[in-house]
Symmetry: C2
Subunit: 365 residues, 2 copies
């Protein structure tokens, strides 16, 4: 199948968008297959081994498909940049270590996280089903993916799941003044019968760092609560926050407590880097964070036995009560985007499309 996709890539530049008016909006419409082919081709061109090509491509396509532009095709540029900076292995072969009946560690060997996770996933699922609960620490991985992508294979297997990972030290603890924590995302998933899973995935920083960077580029002040200056004072100047101050967590001391928990769970608990370590390793190259990820999976069927079906149905009444009063389920927008993308493909900025084409072999671009 990869050959077939590569073949498609050899056709002349994509023209899947015949509508002139739409061209004027500077976007390009691509099918998901086309996005996949584009990504695959660029990654191969940069020498990634096939497992890494597939793992990264699937993640980027899933992000684009689900309307998460910042975790979609755009991230390909970051992946290539991280490679060029010498901060990720293009062909690492992960190693799995069984630490205990319910604990696994997967050493990603400095490669992107996906290959290690794919290798570990069947064992994690097996352990969760056998022991009732199990945890996986992915070590020495470069992490750029949204965590919901790591949760979904577990909810697809009928498991309840939690995942977290540190990032680069950009965020200050409540009451502090210096960057210490990463944007440290936390994700949770709950399997739903005959429906896409209930999944949330959020940064413990007040906003994504990219959000503040967009304000800097636009020369706009940022709202209070996003960052502080070098003296620890509230600051609305994006450049000051990014270059001299620090970002803030969401939810004050509670968000900061969660950020610290994530440093610990996906850092020392699995003998991996904290966000401070990761930023030091980065050495100013603006690469994706290097470090660990912790994933916990619980099998509701083991907790519940014969009650399982009835209890999963009872959980549905909670979701119905949320939606029924106008609250949105965390992944609702993402699933809507997915449905649309699967039917109609995705629309990406022409500038991004051009940037990615510039990464392809010359005879293809």
């Amino acid at each position: 199948m990869n050959d077939r996709i590569a073949q498609q890539q050899h056709s002349p530049p994509h023209t899947p968008e015949p509508d002139r008016a739409r061209r004027a909006n500077d976007t390009v419409r691509l099918s998901l297959q086309e996005v996949h082919a584009l990504v695959t081709c660029a990654l191969r061109q940069h020498g990634f081994s096939e497992p890494h090509v597939n793992g990264v491509a699937d993640t980027l396509v899933a992000g684009e498909r689900d309307g998460c532009a910042s975790h979609g095709l755009y991230r390909l540029l970051g992946c290539i940049g991280t490679l060029k900076a010498g901060k990720v292995s293009r062909d690492a072969v992960p190693e799995l270590h069984e630490m205990a009946p319910a604990l696994l560690r997967a050493d990603a060997g400095g490669g992107f996280s996906q290959v290690a996770y794919r290798m570990a996933l069947p064992r994690l699922i097996g352990k969760a089903r056998a022991q009732g609960i199990a945890a996986l620490g992915i070590n020495r991985c470069v992490h750029f993916s949204a965590l919901w992508a790591d949760i979904e294979p577990l909810t697809d297997a009928g498991l309840v799941a939690l995942a977290c990972t540190p990032s680069h030290a950009w965020v200050t603890p409540a009451g502090g003044s210096k960057p210490l924590f990463g944007t440290n995302p936390l994700a949770f998933g709950w399997p739903r019968p005959r429906q896409p899973a209930f999944i949330f995935d959020f940064a413990t920083s007040a906003v994504a760092r990219g959000e503040i960077e967009l304000h800097r580029r636009a020369g706009k002040p940022i709202p209070e609560g996003w960052g502080i200056d070098a003296d620890g004072k509230p600051c609305t100047d994006a450049a000051t926050v990014l270059d001299h101050g620090a970002m803030l967590t969401f939810g004050g001391h509670k968000g900061a407590a969660l950020a610290a928990m994530i440093e610990l769970l996906a850092g020392p608990l699995i003998a991996d880097m904290t966000s401070v370590d990761s930023l030091a390793f980065d050495a100013g190259t603006r690469s994706s964070p290097m470090g660990g990820e912790l994933i916990i999976a619980i099998d509701p069927a083991r907790f519940l036995g014969e009650q399982c079906e009835a209890e999963l149905a009872r959980a549905e009444t909670l979701f119905e009560a949320m939606v029924g009063q106008g609250a949105r389920l965390p992944s609702q927008r993402r699933y809507q985007a997915r449905e649309s993308s699967l039917r109609h493909g995705v629309r990406i900025p022409r500038s991004l499309y051009d940037d990615i084409n510039a990464l392809l072999p010359r005879d293809m671009a």
Copy 2:
């Protein structure tokens, strides 16, 4: 020992505070032994079985000792109130069920949670050490304790721990307008060599319900962000929020996502009540919430093997970096209060002291 304490109770009303000026402040100073004796006596007087007397007394004394007045002696009134409302069993004998090698359920039989947890604790610790990670669901328990009290025995055993429990449906999901979630606390603990553990324990509501009640009593408006009126609009009137509207979560949609997670983990995952169920069961009696609690324990020694000591030491550098820049560790204030209480005892409002004495046998009060 209990006899000896009861004996102390038979002495005339306590006069441990000789200082006249302090008496004028309407407080009473008691040693922790005196607090324990007072609670024990009141619980016995109301017919609780000895395991429940001890479990509840230890929890209340620990709260008072750590300066958590709302989870200290004051809660004794709530415990007795819950009993009088017929919403807690005074002598339930819990049952333990092993669901899987790494999963336990403890049926508290409608009693306070402590006895079930104490019964399950050695098995939970044993499972975490044997399997690397383990989870305990406590079912059909009445829960009034701060969750840090449930985390501490696990960090004392060198384990990393997470705990959560729903409460009564008072809190609306982000974007909603009706109460659905409880104040749903989440707690996390990390063992520290030669130091009290790193533990946080926070409600996923913006504030405790009691905080809003204090504003109502004082006739003061509440800050924006704490609650909404019946139409889902931001509201600063405490009575409206409490009686017709709903409380809000901390941190907007992120806090709401956590609150939903806690409903699921300590609700349907262990076949127990959601906060809506608990409030319905309460039937207006203002009793403590009835339902489930989920506790997860991870053994860092199993994840880390020979690296364990070095990694726990590495975690210390994170705490040092927090404290070094003026950020407070989550339990810092509590441990300071503890140190002072162990030396000097605690000071409680005379009105509370009188209320509790009124619960004692007539010949003792």
